[in-house]
């Protein structure tokens, strides 16, 4: 049963892709189509989408589950602040430099933390992020534990009026999201992506077939760093301040992101989109509920993982809906072949070998 087998299915797919393209065009025309409030919400949407894409790339394709990407977001934020407010560089120059700094920080982080595997690695990245946050809180000139505001003159470099700045931030966030999705797509279709698929199916075989496992993981991890850093820049521009707890917030930059990806569908490019939309809708309706909002979000996530671990897009794929953004390397395959790594199907020996740490038990 495959949607692509019918003429209706193929037309439906074409229409869906056309809609996707149309939305992109509409998004680009945002400043003319949407009001200031809507643009602000969309800016946040695109930022979260970028973060979701990155977490999804690592967790859904590269078998690197991190709980520490908030660290690089914060590094990007603080780097941007430092470059503009302290080093007095031009703001538009500081933006890409912040991304570079985030990537540079990722290198030693990786060197230390990659000594751990699987779940240990996840907590290790969390520790690393905590360290980054604590150090940021000690740096002179950044306002210590409570942070400090971005000086007005720097903000004004992005536009003299509030509306003007809103539009610039909007377009920046859109550009970031498009770059994030586009680059991820290119990466997955490249040899690295092929290596990732091979690693997923059988790590040992992939290794002996010449796929450099370590290099592939390193590249993926470093790939995400600049995007996370840029997200941090955008966040700073939006909040107009840096502070350890806000810039490095695990709730905002990791927990919500994980929820988004899990609910939308891990291991696909469509999943983070869907998840982000669902997330924003939920936020609209649950905004008044305070802590209950998080409790409900947590409960939904648990239910999704237990009932349909591949999320909403996983359900769509089951119904035979092919990927709108195809990543598969096999032209003849109808539905995308890349299954989420994390949910090893019941093929006994392989699943166990991967999920059990190699260290001895007790």
């Amino acid at each position: 049963m495959n949607v692509m087998d019918t003429a209706r299915g193929r037309i439906g797919l074409a229409v869906a892709r056309a809609l996707l393209a149309a939305s992109l065009l509409a998004a680009i025309a945002g400043p003319w189509l949407f009001g200031a409030n809507q643009q602000t919400v969309l800016t946040e949407f695109f930022t979260l989408l970028t973060l979701a894409m990155m977490w999804n790339l690592l967790a859904g394709y590269a078998d690197i589950i991190t709980v520490g990407q908030q660290g690089f977001v914060g590094v990007g934020a603080y780097a941007f602040f430092g470059l503009t407010a302290l080093a007095h560089l031009d703001a538009f120059l500081a933006v890409p430099l912040a991304a570079i700094i985030a990537t540079l920080v990722a290198i030693p982080t990786m060197a230390v933390v990659f000594r751990l595997r699987t779940a240990y690695l996840a907590v290790g990245t969390w520790v690393a992020a905590e360290v980054m946050m604590l150090i940021a809180g000690k740096l002179p000139g950044f306002g210590g534990g409570s942070g400090t505001s971005l000086p007005i003159p720097i903000v004004k470099q992005f536009g003299s009026s509030v509306l003007g700045r809103v539009e610039v931030f909007y377009l920046l966030s859109l550009a970031l999201a498009v770059m994030a999705v586009g680059s991820t797509w290119i990466l997955l279709r490249s040899r690295i992506g092929l290596g990732l698929t091979a690693m997923r199916d059988n790590e040992e075989a992939a290794g002996s077939a010449g796929v450099d496992l370590i290099l592939t993981r390193v590249i993926c991890f470093l790939f995400t760093a600049p995007f996370l850093g840029l997200a941090g820049v955008l966040v700073t521009l939006e909040k107009l301040r840096v502070a350890p707890s806000a810039s490095f917030s695990i709730t905002d930059w990791t927990i919500y992101v994980i929820f988004i990806v899990v609910i939308g569908g891990i291991g696909s490019l469509e999943g983070p989109f869907i998840g982000a939309v669902v997330f924003f809708l939920l936020r609209e309706y649950l905004a008044g509920f305070g802590t209950w909002y998080l409790i409900i979000l947590g409960t939904i996530s648990i239910l999704v993982i237990l009932i349909e671990p591949r999320g909403i897009w996983g359900v769509c794929r089951k119904w035979g809906i092919p990927d709108l953004i195809p990543v598969s390397h096999f032209r003849r395959a109808r539905s995308a072949v890349i299954r989420p790594l994390a949910f090893a199907d019941k093929v006994p020996a392989r699943a166990e070998r991967r999920s059990h740490s190699r260290r001895s038990a007790l």
């Binding site: 199907d345 019941k346 001895s360 007790l362």
Partner: protein, 235 residues
């Protein structure tokens, strides 16, 4: 030595997701009888044994043990009823000692005549190495532990999955010497093997599996070698 059917399997099909490992198999084993299942790699022999103890994918068909439906029980329940498996690849617990590995078999099975001392009599080398970790044993010794573990559950039906695999002939000889001893105590034995000569030498009856189906069955003395080869390889 009674030959009342201890186990009766009808129309067994075993599926792993969409792959069918066993196709429409009928098989019986009597108490005090050694039944051999021979076949090439991937013929479905192992899946058959695992399906009996409900540890293989999804099965259809029926399995009657001592007149009752075997599969109304969980694996633990099946072991308690008196069906014990010596798994393919031994599957010992590497960090546990020999004695601990054996004791687990004794604790979760039926209580009966066979106890730790009995196993140590049959396999004296295990007594010497009883405090060693299972991973430090040779292949043959590990196989003895696996066999001993199953026997300590005092089974009425013993399922042996390729116990000779990877072992030197002398060691296999020691293991196989015990099988008739078990049989003579009234236990039914199913021996799954790729080594045809060894298993047919000791079997009362045999089945030959080919691609998940029974291609040939009978008594070893009654069917010639040529015919068996043909049904083994499917020529």
């Amino acid at each position: 030595m009674s030959f009342a059917p201890l186990l009766e399997v009808r129309n067994l099909n075993v599926f792993y997701d969409h792959f069918q490992a066993v196709r429409d198999v009928d098989l019986t084993v009597g108490a005090g009888e050694i039944v051999s299942i021979i076949g090439a790699n991937g013929a479905g022999k192992s899946s058959f044994l695992k399906a009996l103890v409900r540890q293989a994918g999804h099965s259809t068909g029926s399995a009657t043990f001592e007149g009752g439906n075997l599969w109304q029980y969980s694996t633990r329940g099946i072991v308690n009823l008196g069906v014990a498996l010596v798994p393919e690849g031994r599957k010992l617990f590497p960090s546990l000692t020999v004695q601990e590995n054996l004791s687990i078999g004794w604790e979760i099975g039926r209580k009966g005549d066979i106890a730790l001392d009995t196993v140590y009599e049959w396999f004296p080398v295990l007594y010497e190495r009883r405090r060693q970790h299972a991973r430090d044993l040779s292949g043959g010794q590990q196989q003895m532990v696996a066999l001993g573990r199953a026997l300590l559950a005092n089974p009425k039906l013993l399922l042996c999955d390729e116990i000779s695999l990877g072992l030197a002939p002398r060691v296999v000889g020691e293991l196989y010497a015990i099988i008739p001893v078990i049989r003579d105590r009234g236990v039914g034995v199913i021996l799954v093997e790729q080594d045809i000569a060894r298993s047919l030498a000791v079997a009362d009856r045999f089945y030959c599996f080919l691609e998940g189906e029974v291609s040939l069955s009978g008594k070893p003395g009654e069917i010639d070698r040529e015919s068996i080869m043909q049904h083994y390889f499917g020529t």
